[in-house]
Amino acid sequence: MKVKLDVDRCKGCYLCIANCKIGAISKDDKPNKKGVIPVKVDQEKCVQCGNCYTMCPDLVFEIL
């Protein structure tokens, strides 16, 4: 695994999707505990650039 997510923290701003230059992040199917549709990461595509960590206001991401 390249990036670990705490999806229940996600508030659905989707700044990560807008800033992931290789398009490895997308919306998930089911809502999280907040009732928000969180994001998911394609671990294969991820290059660990860290843009998601940098742009996430809610500390959802940890780059491993």
Partner: protein, 243 residues
């Protein structure tokens, strides 16, 4: 763990209370990273202004005092003179620092007090419901300028840096949180501002352009685009004073 690993510092103790995509929460993490990397969390007291910006208190494990709204310039001065062994830092709003507290902000700078101000410019009063501030742009719709700010009815917007840049202070910079590159610049400016205080160089102020998607009526991604396309064009960016 790779050399690319990134993890939020422990000072960010729990989830924050900000709206989705709020710029304050991005700034708080940046400050948390800098305080952690400089190893000065225990030597720092943050003067908290009143405004949405004050909500850092709920999610950051750092000592805080809460002076009256806007009076950060005066409160930081007092704090630094009474406790020179502690870093005197504020996270303030543009309403606090540039409207109700403009006199205190400029007076502290005029005296070149050895304190650090981080001013979150979201071009309005967020916490009270999005009323216009001195920073509200011409044409901008806010709760108190429903048809947009006009020069005739509300006057021109005010860039405090026009005054600040002529003062004998240690550090003055403007950055944003609009994209990863700007966030890196903000982190660098935050660190340098605190280092000026460490080295007894005097007053430092970093203005950070932050989005308030809720009161701007924009989706978080579009709010960041407004910063890039409108505010970063309107304002002079980068380091303006670095002594």
């Amino acid at each position: 763990m790779s050399n690319r690993s990134k993890k939020a510092p422990k000072i960010m103790k729990c989830e924050n209370k900000f709206c989705a995509g709020c710029g304050h929460s991005l700034f708080d993490r940046i400050l948390g990273e800098v305080l952690t990397e400089m190893n000065i969390i225990g030597e720092t007291i943050v003067c908290s202004d009143i405004g949405c910006n004050h909500m850092f208190q709920y999610s950051m494990a750092v000592d805080v005092i809460v002076p009256p709204h806007g009076k950060m310039g005066a409160a930081l001065t007092a704090q630094k003179r009474v406790r020179p062994d502690k870093y005197a830092i504020t996270i303030a709003g543009d309403g606090g620092a540039y409207a109700i507290g403009l006199a205190e902000t400029v007076a502290a700078a005029t005296r070149n007090e050895n304190v650090t101000m981080f001013v979150m410019n979201n071009t309005l009063y967020a916490m009270t419901g999005g009323q216009a501030a001195p920073t509200t742009q011409l044409g901008q719709i806010s709760a108190s300028t429903p048809k947009g700010r006009t020069e005739k009815d509300h006057g021109l917007d005010f860039d405090v840096f026009n005054v600040m840049r002529n003062l004998d202070i240690a550090y003055l910079a403007r950055t944003s949180v609009a994209n990863p590159s700007e966030i890196r610049k903000t982190k660098n400016a935050v660190k340098k501002a605190i280092e000026k205080q460490r080295d007894n160089k005097g007053f430092s102020l970093v203005e950070v352009l932050v989005p308030c998607p809720t009161n701007w009526g924009l989706k978080p991604v579009d709010a960041m685009k407004r910063i890039e396309n409108e505010l970063m064009v309107r304002y002079e960016m980068g380091e303006i004073i670095d002594k």
